[in-house]
């Protein structure tokens, strides 16, 4: 099993969710995060003048998938989250050693 951690634009959550549903990936966990990278922050209006916020709102999607679903999942996310502008985000793949479904106690591949 792998955990796919995708940090994407907030407004791309919906298309990504739909695309994952399309390939049979339902379960996922989402958090609101802030990120910085090559994108150079965003200028916001102050009362007069403006200031720059370094950390921009992003969402982080975490999906644990079976090894055989990994590349499809990556694909779906990368395709749907892309705008081509700086700040589109990153996807990381992290090994998962065990999984448990709390409701049933099912383990590992059965738990995802």
């Amino acid at each position: 099993m792998k955990k796919v951690e995708a940090i994407i634009r907030e407004e791309k959550l919906e298309p990504v969710r739909a695309a994952l549903e399309g390939i049979g990936v339902y379960g996922m966990t989402v958090a609101e995060v802030s990120g910085r990278g090559r994108e150079k922050g965003i200028p916001l209006q102050w009362r007069s003048g403006e200031y720059r916020v370094e950390f921009l709102p992003k969402v982080k999607i975490e999906v644990v998938v079976l090894d055989e679903d990994l590349s499809r999942t990556l694909n779906a996310i990368v395709t749907k989250a892309r705008t081509g502008e700086r700040g589109d985000g990153k996807v990381f793949v992290i090994p998962v050693e065990h999984a448990v479904r709390v409701r049933t106690g099912d383990r590992d591949d059965n738990a995802v």
Partner: protein
């Protein structure tokens, strides 16, 4: 005694009271999340403290029987001789107690206004000590000079309908002096972004200020008739005109913002304050527009300096009040209010000169007096919180609270 006038003064007093919590929201929405409660707390605590001091001695110092034009006597201390009947000196158609309370609400908000300059770093205990001293040594005398019967600025012929000089210039100029003594927030000089925590809260605060300002300005007619209506219309129109102007300036520079509309409205309300009962309602349009433009660029300039007068009390209230006082000298018309006189556009420069003199005097007194008081408080008890306390935030460090509950 008139029951209509009394109803109007009582509800006006309630409206002005509401402005201080409105100010708390207006300011608190503009600081960082970790200082939201501390910012609100300043206004609420001042409301409580000055509310009591006013009935004890503030009213008699400000409005008590005149002593040489400079201060009120102690004849009315602890509300002695202030009863249900009208006074003979002020607002003769409403209970003396009503007039007393209405004026008290002005004292409260004036002191609270200054807190915008010192948010996110001042020690709460020191703020209270400073506030009590400032109220006693600056506010009461200046209020007497301008509004007390026998006050020397009033006798000079300077006009201040609802507090451009007494409230806004004193608060705005003193705020700057206090901020200079206190020094900037950690990170300010390095231009760390300090994002406002809650802009809807700012807008709600501005709305309550606007609403309360009808009591502030139209209530200052002290009776419920044509003059109150004139002041009411001028007040609303100035707020609208200044809000449009600020929004447009923001747009020219980049974007029209809600923070800008809210700030513009408040600045317009400030500027019309001294003028509302002396000028034609339509004069509120240029008065508001010019006020917004002045404050907008002064604020931009201030932000570029190393001066952390954090929420721009000086740029909004100091400059807005100054322009408003001068504008009264320009636009006043004896036809609007027989107690006033004709200003520049009606052919007489005398009033403008008197207004300028009053402005100058109050600037100097407020700045110098505040500087001395602030230095003294700083020397004796220290004005600032410790650096770690500032970093953690004043909500936790000063008040043991946080605004929004966790999990």
């Amino acid at each position: 005694m008139s029951s209509g006038d009394t109803a109007w003064i009582l509800i006006s007093a309630a409206l002005v009271m509401l402005m201080t919590p409105g100010l708390a929201l207006f300011y608190a929405g503009m600081v960082r999340k970790k200082n939201v409660l501390s910012t609100m707390m300043m206004s609420f605590a001042i409301l409580a403290v000055i509310g009591v001091l006013w009935v004890l001695y503030g009213y008699t110092l400000s409005f008590g029987p005149d002593k040489g034009g400079f201060i009120g006597g102690l004849e009315w201390i602890g509300l002695r001789n202030v009863g249900q009947e009208p006074s003979s000196a002020y607002a003769t158609t409403v209970p003396h107690l009503a007039f007393m309370m209405y004026q008290g609400m002005f004292a409260i908000i004036t002191v609270a206004l200054m807190t915008g300059a010192v948010v996110e770093r001042i020690k709460f205990s020191s703020l209270l000590i400073f506030s009590v001293l400032w109220f006693t040594l600056i506010y009461c005398p200046v209020a007497h000079w301008v509004w007390g019967s026998g006050g020397w600025l009033a006798k000079l012929g300077a006009l201040d309908f609802a507090g451009g000089t007494v409230v806004h210039i004193t608060a705005g100029v003193s705020a700057m002096a206090l901020a200079l003594v206190l020094g900037p927030r950690k990170g300010f000089t390095e231009r760390h972004p300090m994002e406002p925590a809650n802009i809807p809260m700012v807008a709600l605060g501005a709305a309550l200020l606007w609403f309360g300002w009808f009591g502030f300005n139209a209530g200052s007619a002290l009776s419920s008739g044509g003059l109150a209506a004139n002041a009411f219309v001028a007040t609303n129109t100035a707020a609208c005109s200044a809000a449009i102007t600020w929004m447009s300036l923001g747009w020219i520079h980049r974007r029209p913002s809600l923070l800008g509309v809210a700030t513009g409205a408040v600045v317009g309300l400030v500027a019309i304050t001294p003028a509302a009962g002396f000028v034609n309602p339509l004069a509120a349009i240029p008065i508001g527009a010019v006020a917004a433009a002045i404050s907008f660029y002064v604020m931009m300039w201030r932000t570029k300096q190393k001066v952390d007068e954090s929420l721009d009390v000086w740029a909004c209230h100091g400059m807005g009040g100054t322009w408003g006082a001068l504008a009264t000298g320009i636009f006043a018309s004896a036809a609007v209010n027989a107690a006033g006189t004709d200003g520049l556009v009606y052919g007489s420069a005398a009033l403008l000169a008197k207004q300028a003199a009053a402005v100058g005097v109050v600037w100097i007194v407020a700045f110098a007096g505040t500087w001395v008081i602030a230095k003294a408080v700083n020397a004796v008890v220290g004005l600032r919180v410790k650096e770690e306390e500032e970093v953690v935030g004043l909500d936790i460090s000063q008040h043991g609270e946080r605004a929004y509950g966790g999990l």
